[in-house]
């Protein structure tokens, strides 16, 4: 079947199978940031934004995304770049395989809740597994970013 959707701001017409999953479609379109880490919807590596909402692209039919906006990290580079340097400072990206899903979901969190507490950060990102970092450095990175952003906004820098 043929579907139309908007991928990272570009309108696309794609030929897909009825059972093509969104993760496979976006990877076919060159969005290699989107990773598969499990078959059971548990890892969060494949997170993309569907009409701005973070979803597991391994669990959404490509057909269901027809007519909708899909964003992967490829389409969110600027928004990501501002924040991920703080993760890099910690070294908390480690192997990097879980990074795209984690970065996208952090973007979604901060859009929804620009000033989250540590507990709110942990809760929102609980579905993003990471086996390398132990999570603490990722939290420090987000916290440092939020502090920096506050200072920036109050012109204290």
């Amino acid at each position: 079947m043929e579907i139309q959707l908007t991928l990272n701001g570009k309108k696309l017409t794609c030929a897909i199978e009825s059972d093509t999953l969104l993760i496979d479609l976006v990877r076919q379109q060159g969005c290699f940031s989107v990773k598969r880490g499990c078959e059971t919807s548990n890892c969060g590596l494949c997170t993309v934004l569907l009409d701005g909402t973070p979803v597991l692209s391994c669990s959404v039919l490509a057909a269901r995304a027809a007519g909708h906006q899909v964003q992967t990290l490829e389409g969110l580079q600027e928004e990501a770049e501002e924040f991920v340097g703080f993760i890099a400072d910690q070294g908390a990206e480690q192997c990097g395989f879980c990074n795209p899903g984690y970065v996208i979901n952090t973007i979604a969190l901060l859009r929804e809740n620009p000033d989250p507490t540590d507990d709110q950060i942990r809760a929102y990102l609980a579905g993003n597994l990471c086996r390398c970092s132990g999570y603490e450095g990722q939290l420090r990175g987000i916290r440092n970013y939020l502090n920096w952003r506050k200072e920036e906004r109050h012109g204290n820098v």
Partner: protein, 762 residues
């Protein structure tokens, strides 16, 4: 502590922004999407012989290219363990064997144009098995009439005490002093058996490999591996082809933790490409990782610990029974660490020790290398026994340890009589007590709602590379305008070794790490390196890097001497170039680089290979505070504090992340990560739905600090950190749970159900 310009700072990893921005860097991102899809048909039986296999219908599926069976397999046995030749692990594998030995063992290699075609074809392959009685319980394996490897072609190239006619993958005993005599004179002997499961590394990127024929008709392998050189050898062995025909490189690796120190996936697409000449790719599913991967060796470690009533530990007797599963990868070596990296912690007043072990074959998934590599299992046992002793003696467990630990300068008989040249374990304990607030948190506190808070502690050690064995190498090369290429064969699997080695190079060459460009690892281009395992990279390849840079400094001075028309003895290297000592001349790095490319016979590069006669142990202390619900058995980890002595950390931020990541893996192992089997030998925890690794809601708050020692044989005083960090959580948490419930749990994981049912509360 000496002052360094680069070493000891915190630094962004060189690949961090590319990784964080999701650039295509991993095997499946950088290789063609239209390669043949390779999958493996796996045995549903734990022990069976393939009687008949018919793939004719499968091959009729449109898009199917090949189905290979045991009849197509080379018949020379090999091991998939990525270890130095000749591997200590027995040669007990065939690419495809008629005898399948665990649920998930390879029966056929299936290759086709699309995943759909391959999936359809897999269902159409008809296999008739002669089902044999399986041997699933490793306690019954030794001398059991069911033999896992009855075949005569089985062979063990190293003298590790292996005997396939007894299901023994390895067996040995060693010691110092008369353990029985000392034990008989002790006031107390603590004797228990402690059990650790075959936990999974669960790296986020599953095993995966791409293969193609290159322009010279050689097999080009792009794989997510920690060991490119071992991988080359093993693939060649498995396929029965010359080593010269294989070229292995690794791109970014999505985590390894030892899993990718075994050649788990590589041989299958390699065989397909070698046979068909076509590009091929194998991507393991998570289920395959969980059921046909290379997990930790399940071990039962029995400890007999003898002490005086004033708390002097006089004797340790450790016996380990290790389950290597269907094949012997890393079986003979992991087990050694269960004694050699637990007993030496108590060198202080130890008069005698004995360490013996058996490693047995069974019909379950083959084990492999997982961070900690046997030390984890041994330390859970010995540290638990020490905590039990503290309880018996009514002694503070930290004070008990301060009385008995190994200290700088001591000879460690249980650690191959090595001297602890750099050891800040005593400082680790005192500092950890401070930051954790041990004296306030150790007493049991009733929170009044059925919940209690309690604390526990444990020590840990590991090694830094395998002494007299591992080889690390580095090539450093001066380039135009004065930048440097650092070329390595060690594999950065996310830990940041590319950056850490660049920092060592920058320190030695007195420049910025930004001036160092790193490349690795590639068997055609990198200098030989054993690979990234055994906590070796910073220590060993780091030292090779330092030495290579020193050599390059000399070479640059030699080139400068001809430029400045003077003797080398009149010159001095400084970071930006070479100076005449009398101040009358200077040539910059860039000038030397340019000069090196014209009429020059002095190499503007250096390659150094390094090996070490010692394996200096890093040390660590972990202290945990838990809240335990006495009515449900739930445990919440509140705080985990630790102080690590890894010598001088090269990049402090990256060392901290290593510690934090290791601690959280250890927490998972202690509390939830379980491996259970059906009576038919199938692993139940075969997905992330069933095998629960910690989320960020499960691990409490971590606090990591460093106690510095200076290892004289390491680069800039460094020891290792990658593995030592996983060992403390299990014994510390078991200790805290005992404090909260009065029950010692000696078998992992310690689930809420075990806690509640064995406590008698609720």
């Amino acid at each position: 502590m000496a002052t360094y310009k680069v070493v000891g700072t915190s630094m962004r990893k060189k690949d961090s922004m590319q990784l964080l921005l999701g650039k295509p860097l991993f095997v499946d991102d950088i290789t063609p999407q239209d390669a043949l899809v390779v999958k493996v048909l796996r045995s549903p039986h734990p022990n069976a012989l393939v009687e008949e296999i018919d793939s004719s219908k499968a091959l009729l599926v449109p898009g199917m290219v090949a189905v290979y069976t045991y009849q197509d397999s080379p018949q020379e046995r090999f091991t998939m363990a990525g270890q130095t030749y000749p591997e200590p692990s027995p040669r007990d594998r065939l690419l495809l064997d008629r005898h399948v030995r665990f649920v998930g063992d390879a029966v056929a290699i299936v290759a086709g144009e699309t995943e759909k075609a391959v999936d359809r074809a897999m269902k159409l392959i008809k296999v008739r098995y002669q089902v044999l009685e399986p041997l699933l319980d490793f306690h019954k394996a030794k001398d059991n009439p069911i033999l896992i490897h009855p075949e005569d072609s089985w062979n063990a190239p190293c003298p590790v005490g292996a005997d396939n006619k007894r299901n023994l993958c390895a067996s040995d005993t060693c010691g110092d002093g008369d353990v029985e005599a000392v034990l008989s004179r002790c006031d107390y002997v603590v004797e228990h058996t402690y059990q650790v499961k075959a936990c999974q590394q669960a790296m986020m990127e599953t095993f995966r490999t791409y293969t193609e024929m290159d322009r010279y008709g050689r097999l080009h392998v792009v794989s997510s591996t920690q060991i490119v050189f071992h991988c080359r050898r093993i693939i060649a062995n498995a396929l029965g082809i010359p080593k010269s025909k294989v070229h292995v490189e690794k791109p970014r690796i999505g985590g390894g933790f030892g899993a990718k120190q075994t050649v788990v996936a590589e041989v299958y697409p390699a065989f397909v490409t070698w046979k068909t000449g076509r590009p091929a790719k194998m991507i393991y599913t998570r289920q395959e990782c969980q059921t046909a991967g290379s997990p930790r060796h399940a071990m039962d470690v029995t400890v007999r610990l003898g002490a005086t009533k004033d708390g002097t530990i006089r004797a340790l007797d450790v016996y380990t029974l290790s389950n290597t599963g269907a094949y012997g990868e890393h079986g003979p070596t992991t087990v050694g660490l269960s004694g050699h990296k637990s007993i030496p912690l108590y060198t202080g007043g130890l008069e005698a020790f004995r360490f013996s072990y058996d490693v047995v074959y069974t019909n379950v998934q083959s084990s492999g290398a997982y961070r900690g590599y046997g030390a984890t299992q041994g330390i859970f046992a010995v540290e638990s026994a020490v905590n039990e002793l503290a309880d018996i003696l009514h002694m503070d467990p930290a004070a008990l340890r301060e009385k008995n630990i190994v200290r700088e300068g001591m000879v460690m008989p249980a650690y191959y009589y090595e001297v602890a040249n750099a050891c800040a374990l005593d400082q680790c304990i005192s500092r950890c007590k401070e930051i954790f607030n041990w004296d306030a948190k150790y007493p049991i506190r009733d929170m009044g709602n059925g919940k209690v808070r309690a604390a526990g502690m444990a020590l840990s050690m590991q090694g830094s590379a395998i002494s007299n064995c591992d080889v690390g190498s580095a090539t450093i090369k001066l380039g135009d305008e004065g930048f440097y290429n650092l070329i390595i064969g060690a594999a950065d699997m996310g830990t940041g070794c590319d950056t850490i080695l660049a920092m060592i190079a920058a320190e030695t060459l007195e420049c910025s790490p930004d001036d160092i460009v790193v490349f690795g690892a590639d068997t055609d281009a990198s200098p030989y390196d054993s690979g990234s395992y055994a906590s070796s990279t910073t220590y060993l390849t780091g030292k090779a890097t330092e030495k290579a840079c020193l050599e390059l400094r000399d070479n640059m001075c030699a080139i400068a001497a001809s430029m400045l028309k003077c003797d080398v003895s009149q010159l001095e290297f400084q970071g930006d170039g070479v100076y005449r000592l009398d101040g009358t001349g200077f040539v910059s790095r860039g000038d030397i680089a340019t000069a090196s490319m014209v009429n020059n016979c002095v190499p503007a590069q250096a390659t150094v290979t390094h090996s070490s006669p010692v394996s200096p142990p890093p040390f660590m202390v972990g202290m945990v505070e838990i809240e335990l619900d006495r009515e449900t058995g739930s445990v919440e980890v509140l705080n985990y504090s630790s102080v690590v002595d890894c010598g001088i950390p090269i990049a402090e931020n990256l060392a901290r992340i290593q510690a934090e990541g290791g601690i959280v893996q250890g927490i998972g192992m202690a509390l939830w990560e379980n491996v259970t089997y059906t009576p038919q030998g199938r692993v139940l925890e075969d997905s992330f739905m069933q095998y629960k690794i910690p989320t960020r809601l499960d691990m409490g708050t971590l606090h990591v600090e460093f106690a510095y020692s200076h290892e004289p044989t390491g680069p800039y005083g460094a020891k290792s950190i990658g593995e030592v960090v996983i060992n403390t959580p299990a014994p510390a948490i078991a200790h805290a749970i005992f404090r909260a419930t009065g029950v010692w749990h000696r078998s992992l994981p310690i689930t809420p159900e075990k806690i509640l049912m064995e406590t008698g509360h609720g």
